[in-house]
Amino acid sequence: MSEHLTIYPIIVHLLTAILLLLFWMKPQVQRYISILGSAVGIVIAVLLFQRVWENGIQSVQLGNWEAPFGISMVADTLAVTLILLTNIVAFALSIYSTETMVSSRVKFGYYAIFHFLVMGLSGAFLTGDLFNLYVWFEVIIISSFVLLTIGGRKIQIEGAVKYFTLNMISSIIFLTGIAMVYGATGSLNMAELSRIIPEIENKGLMATISLVFFIGFGVKSGVFPLYFWLPASYHTPPAAVSALFAGLLTKVGIYAMIRVFTLIFPLGETNQMILMIISALTIFFGGIGALVQKDVLRVFSYLIICHIGFMVGGLSLFTEVAIIGAVLYMFHDIIVKATLFMMGGVFYRIFGHTKMENMGGLMNNYPRLSLLFAIPLFALVGIPPLSGFWPKVSLFSASYEQGAIFMLIVFIFASLITLVIIAKVWNKTFSKNPTTLPRQKNLRYFDQFSIREKAAFIVPIAMLVGVTLYYSFFAEHFQLIATRIGEELMNSEHYYNAVFKTKEVTEL
């Protein structure tokens, strides 16, 4: 039983989704099942994390087919940490959705699709097979399409068309890459590929294939020339959905990038150069985009793009310290970006819109709420000791040690532009006086809420802020985890040994 813990994070959410489908017409029951399922998900993620931490990388061969023939599921430290964070965010969003999701949307299958999406994320993190990764990506994409269009407002449909097109094309490019890898090597098992690819003579072909993968993952993670679907769609769905997307969807692209470019195609100098330039452009255009936007949610959308640049930049430096920085940034970003979009939902309920010109006065009217909201915003800027600060230390020192002054400048620019953007958001939403607009008739506003409804909005945000604070003040724990991840990623034999069970125990 317990030796198969590796695949349980997937099973939990699948079973929850099935149960939710069976209670199709009972929204209230669905809400409880969803919260319960997510809670179980956290427990299992913690158990799995504990096991991987104690016993090294875990792997399971599905169907008991031996490693290169069957599908391997591999839980290394990076994967389990991401699964843990995913489950925490999912739990917070299950609670958050109880009040933000109207019953008609729940009857449309919101919760079931939500859990299918989380299942897809867990699967993508765990899988050790390239084609299986594609399948999980498709699970994620299909679920996210449905979540994006639930409700069917005009702007949602328009955003969905853009999101759909670019993500479909990216899947097709990814699949092309898989076909080329299979043609060149005859295998799709990531561990086996890590041994085969270095021995292939035709380096030019391998470089081409790696760039095909980069384009495929690049669309998903939203790097510079490929990000246009993101700000076009992320502000359109309900807050709970965009929080899930913002926290996790782009990160799964980055995860795939880190996995493929450390394990299968270790970055060469040319690719490092390409990634560096793209990271710089992503930061620049994301930052400038966020600066000119006037809607809070769209500012946040562009901030996602801007900060993707940090992770790509960390990967592009390709030293252990830099990878540690990138991974740490990813952990911080998952929590904070999800919190930001949940805050966006609260803004919407307070003001009835999310246009910054007409917002303001939060600090006077809701002082305690403002204090809560200030933490993720400041964490995003990276004010010490909040969580954004620690990954930046690693990233700055890595780029300095490597003599990559260009990247150092880029990272500093990104931090500054984030500071400017957050200062602008703070000014416009928290301190200036609001222009009062006539209230929308069919929207319940925040001050009309009962205590219970308010709690459903605020408690999950407070939970995630708690995680941010934990990250901030116990950063050494995350540093420890990230150090081990860095070691595992830079030495692919750990991964290989865990999959093929070559009897040297994979202790670190």
Binding site: M1, E3, I11, L22
Partner: protein
């Protein structure tokens, strides 16, 4: 669009096609066939019926909402995939086989139940999609 020929043929074809789909489902493990193809054939049977007699007739024939087949099929598939973990402690989706042959069905194993689950899911998904599209026209 009412056509007597299509009407009559669809009524005869419906049971035949469903029988054929079950046949394809059962032979699926070692020979070409399986849950997905079987499910598609069964779905085609109902879609043909809907073509000839209209959607409401087909809904009446089905009695349950086709969407309901999705969780049921998924549940069956998940349970049969989990069975090796619960029974023998082997990894997910390992095939468990009954030793003796059973008449008509042949060797029974967890793979058959998995395929049956897939069969139900495919019918459910196809019919839900087709019904939704044709209803919104």
């Amino acid at each position: 669009m009412k056509s007597v020929i299509l009407n009559t043929v669809s009524k005869t074809l419906l049971p035949l096609l469903i029988l054929f789909s079950v046949f394809v489902l059962l032979r699926g493990h070692y020979l070409p066939g399986g849950g997905f193809i079987g499910g598609l054939i069964a779905a085609v049977a109902f879609i043909l019926h809907a073509f000839a007699n209209g959607l409401t007739e087909t809904r009446k024939l089905l009695r349950i909402h086709p969407g309901f087949l999705i969780p049921v099929g998924l549940l069956l598939a998940v349970i049969s995939a989990l069975a090796p973990i619960l029974v023998t402690g082997e990894p997910l989706m390992t095939g468990l086989w009954h030793d003796k042959d059973i008449a008509i069905l042949g060797k029974i194993g967890s793979a058959l139940f998995f395929d049956t689950g897939v069969y139900l899911v495919v019918i459910g998904v196809c019919l839900t999609i087709i019904f939704t599209i044709s209803e919104s026209v």
